[in-house]
Symmetry: C2
Subunit: 490 residues, 2 copies
């Protein structure tokens, strides 16, 4: 707490790492690439989960749970899927340890070798579609609208807490439908759910779009996504929703008897968001003093710091504020009274700033006399002295205002950093400066690859709201009918 965190302008990456650590969000564990999510960080994730879970249920989904392990052979059943997912993953080969001969430790028992290796799930399409085969016989069994909250493992070589970790937490929805149209509608509906969550809870504006073929989920016909812009000008994919066509139904032979009695393959979707959202949330709003949390997702919305000398004065202040704490709690606002008597107010202010608590109240002896309280908002650092009798109404309005303000600030940042490039020269210059770049592209993976190799920029998506605009590909000059969204990305 004594040292300030590095400034964003000096070293954005170090700022992020230090912030995650110092705000008690998460840390690297002794297991390479696996993180420990600390209680304060997990409390934010729990808030995210609760909101999303409610949204999934409102749209008719139920939760279920499928096995952690996938038989190796399952991965090979869908040709594209195995290319995308079978490579970097944790492989279980044995099921027993035994004492080592020197009796000082344990070793793998060579006799306990599995006949078929098991893969720790990197995503669950294969194990779920092999299960759906038994759940689906007729159109009456459809749609099947299931979600799972789970841990998954992808053996990433370069890891970064929340953004890219070997193990992460996520939800994965897996649905099955009678028609193509219904499955596409589901895919789009879940994209809207994610966009709604990102914008109205995380206060993070997103671009909704479709991935190009080369960025598509392995096994999908179409991958929809939401893309957000971080403060360093890099894009972050915050959620994806995949229309799977009949690919997994064919790979796992999942058919249903239609109303006319004919057997048809089922249409599928899958969609997911992960603890990566924690990284997005941190990077979207936080500043050089620490976290800035949107009130909707803040585990502590209001912190009260009493300013006192001696135990008696502390007690007097605590007695005085208790009714306001009760009233705030009754209004559904989470409040923490920081009555630690070993730390000075300035230290506490800095700590709660670091942890991103949206509103801080300071209560001193003079406030007792004047029936006032000092209210500070985290996002702008503005302070105001308020009549204590009006503080509950004031805070309610303030929390809403903060939620709106940080969204608007992030939106303004994105708008200022979304630019159009008319030539490849201009494109390279803009990409180097950071931000989203809208440019014409000829629609080929070849061009996309070349641009990526030369500039490190990828096509984040073809925006759903892209206007029809005839133009020429910045790279090849070939015709293009709309601009796509480029950026360097996390």
């Amino acid at each position: 707490m004594s040292k300030a965190i590095p400034k964003r302008s000096q070293d954005y990456s170090l700022w992020y790492n230090e912030l995650v650590k110092r705000a008690d969000l998460a840390e690297n564990s002794a297991v390479r690439g696996c993180m420990v999510i600390k209680p304060y960080g997990f409390a934010i994730w729990e808030k995210m989960q609760a909101v999303l879970d409610g949204m999934f249920k409102e749209t008719g989904h139920s939760n279920a749970y499928f096995p952690l392990f996938i038989p190796k052979s399952y991965l090979s059943k869908e040709a594209d899927h195995v290319e995308g997912f079978a490579k970097e993953c944790a492989v279980v080969t044995h099921y027993r340890l035994k004492n080592s001969e020197d009796n000082k430790g344990v070793v793998v028992d060579p006799e306990a070798k599995l006949e078929e290796e098991l893969i720790v799930r990197p995503t669950s399409e294969t194990v779920i579609w092999s299960t759906y085969k038994n759940w689906i016989q007729s159109y009456r069994d459809l749609p099947l609208l299931v979600n799972q909250w789970a841990n998954v493992v992808r053996w990433e070589m370069r890891t970064r807490v929340f953004l890219r970790t070997a193990e992460f937490l996520w939800q994965e929805g897996h649905t099955a439908h009678t028609t193509q149209g219904e499955a596409i509608a589901e895919t789009k509906q879940m994209l809207e759910v994610y966009a709604n969550f990102a914008e109205n809870y995380m206060a993070m504006p997103v671009v909704k779009g479709v991935k190009t073929e080369s960025e598509r989920f392995a096994g999908a016909v179409d991958t929809y996504c939401i893309e957000a812009l971080m403060q360093d000008g890099k894009a972050l994919q915050a959620g994806t929703s995949h229309f799977l066509g009949q690919n997994f139904a064919k790979a796992f032979d999942v058919k249903f008897a239609a109303q006319n009695g004919e057997l048809e393959y089922v249409w599928g979707t899958s969609w997911g968001v992960s603890t990566r959202l924690m990284g997005a949330l941190i990077m979207a709003h936080s500043d050089d003093q620490g976290l800035v949390l949107p009130p909707m997702l803040a585990p502590i919305q209001v912190v009260i710091v009493p300013i006192f000398k001696g135990e008696e004065q502390l007690k007097e202040i605590v007695d005085h504020v208790q009714p306001y704490i009760d009233e705030l709690k009754k209004a559904g606002i989470s409040v923490k009274l920081d009555d630690r008597d070993t730390l000075r107010p300035g230290f506490k202010f800095a700590e709660w700033e670091l942890k991103g608590v949206p509103v801080r109240l300071a209560f001193g002896p003079r406030d007792l006399q004047n029936k006032t309280v000092e209210v500070a908002r985290r996002d702008t650092s503005e302070k105001q002295v308020v009549d204590v009798d009006k503080v509950v109404e004031h805070i309610k309005a303030l929390l809403e205002d903060i939620q709106q303000s940080i969204y608007k600030k992030a939106l303004q940042f994105r708008e200022e950093n979304t630019r159009k490039a008319e030539s490849y020269e201009e494109f390279k210059k803009l990409i180097e400066e950071g931000g989203f770049v809208l440019a014409h592209w000829d629609g080929t993976s070849e061009t996309e690859d070349k641009i990526k190799n030369e500039t490190k920029a990828t096509i984040r998506c073809i925006p759903l709201n892209a206007e029809k605009e005839e133009g020429k590909c910045i790279y090849t000059g070939n015709p293009s009918s709309c601009r796509v969204l480029f950026a360097k990305a996390y």
Copy 2:
């Protein structure tokens, strides 16, 4: 749905398996020993989680998340722990697959061998205490009150859905304290939380007790537990709370600076319940018609089955019941209207009975005329015709009554099946008949082992409320100061 499930009296084990499957609770997956928890079963587990999570938070605990993988060497650090847990577990040895030479599948890449194997957590004491070492410096960092909801894997050879599976879901609390007394108080507090949950939510009476040395958790100083009696006369351990002493603190070198400045080892506890509770819930109350769920944990508390001929009559009835549905929902009661038009009422009645919905309403054309409704309770099968205007109040009271009744029924069953044995002959006869047997024991593991080998009965616990009673061990005749609780167990 067409066939009835087997009767408990014919084959209890088959009854259980069929019930789990037919009520859509869970099923075995293609991965040996791993289950799929289906949406209806998972909805019950979610209710359990929500209640328990609330209780943990009320007692000051926060959730966090620790890695799925444990370095092999960690398991060896606590001597007893490795004996208990290092043996039957899933071992990750590689981190990559590659295309096979015939290009028809994938094989483990021998070049991607881990330097140190990783164990899929069978329980997380080791990885958590290795983390706590960095979180704890001073008495100000204590108590540390953390819980984790997670999946764990123990490579069981004989598995049974919910009761014993290779992968299962659970919560594991891990706390750290400055004093022995505080850690013991925490251990006992969490035992009370579990007992409260079992009795007041699951409607399942439990005996609170302490495990004997040989049944203790590997690495614990004392293991407290709650034990329930199933309808077949076998005991089921429904939750455990461990006082770990300083064992893990010493194994992972976790010390804190006390107020007097001296460095001392931290005192620990851990406590857990798992999806095993689902098995307990099913076996405690269900009958030959299917599940019987306590209203507190039923995903659907009230089902409404309209009795109709033709679409028009269905519409009339649905319009008529809608205000009551709204009113029930407003009162926090979960209601399902079964308006499927392809199934007959009798079929629906049987299905909701099988699924254990506590209250069923049947609404026919005559009820429209008479302003009545038929109310049936699942636990006793009693039916009653009720004035429709009083139905909401009636249901509220009925749900409470059902919750109480099934608890009382289970308690009565347990009392009738808890008997005292005064000799080994009598003991063997009673154990063969089933149920709990209270008997004197000389306190040695040797005697405990012999009794277990000869009768398959284990000491479930030394009940916390055991009366002082001088007696002689049923096996050796050696002196004993209280009776312990024996049973055959799941």
